[in-house]
């Protein structure tokens, strides 16, 4: 049977920390290493920040966070109903940012890709974006 966690949260920067803690707590049952927890926390932080800064452009909106555990894999989905991404390929490029004036580093997707095994982006302009990330947890001593 699959194990699932669902959270709906407002578009508030304070919720980034909440999302990280929730996912980190959820994945403890996989007996992850500290490094694996940090990898997932970083990826979640990037995805939620993207939803707030880019998806909803710091305005109102709901962010849907979902995590599933199946065997030794964790799958995380971060979804918004914001502006969407017009060029996903470009958005994935390291250092590319649409908001240099806000000092976004342009490394959000790069970090997600480095720290997770798979990153899928499903986005429609005017409808929103869903980021789905998967990581196999090797874990520490079992």
């Amino acid at each position: 049977m699959e194990d699932i966690l669902k959270i709906e949260m407002g578009c508030k920067p304070e919720n980034e920390g909440l999302a990280r803690i929730a996912i980190a707590t959820f994945m403890v049952r996989l007996n992850p290493t500290l490094e694996e927890i940090n990898d997932v926390k970083t990826a979640v932080s990037e995805a939620v920040t993207n939803a707030i800064v880019h998806g909803y452009e710091d305005k109102e909106g709901i962010i849907y966070l979902k995590a599933m555990i199946e065997e030794n894999k964790i799958e995380i989905s971060v979804k918004d109903e914001g502006v969407g991404i017009s060029n996903v390929k470009q958005a994935r490029e390291p250092l590319y940012t649409t908001k240099p004036e806000e000092e976004r580093s342009g490394m959000g997707f790069t970090f997600m890709e480095i720290f997770m095994d798979e990153v899928h982006i499903d986005s429609k302009v005017g409808k929103g974006t869903e980021i789905r990330m998967i990581k196999k947890i090797v874990g520490g001593d079992k």
């Binding site: 920390g17 920040t49 800064v53 000092e103 976004r104 580093s105 490394m107 970090f111």
Partner: protein
């Protein structure tokens, strides 16, 4: 919320960062640091990570931004107390090559 502390010693502004550095607090740190930089009293910025357990790309962007600002003044960025997870993030970002 956790306080960020600022100390000025000679020409260096020391920013004592909180336990988590993300988009939630980088906006405020940036504003406060820039106030000191624009005052003309400081040239260098030291980011003290002693208390920091987590940082994401928002923190990288914030440090790169300060670097851009003080470089023309002949200033430099100093990172201290960096460990574990934060060390990895900084390594991966290529920030060490830039500053």
């Amino acid at each position: 919320m956790e306080q960020v502390e600022y100390e000025i010693l000679d020409e260096t502004l020391k920013v004592i960062l909180p336990s988590e550095v993300d988009h939630c607090n980088t906006v405020g740190i940036r504003k406060e640091a820039d106030k000191h930089i624009y005052s003309g009293r400081v040239k260098n910025v030291e980011f003290d990570f002693t208390n920091t357990k987590f940082m994401d790309s928002s923190g990288i962007g914030m440090i790169m931004g300060r670097h851009k600002l003080i470089k023309p003044l002949g200033g430099k960025i100093i990172l201290t107390g960096v460990k574990d997870n934060v060390e990895r993030i900084i390594n991966v970002s290529g920030l060490y090559k830039l500053i």
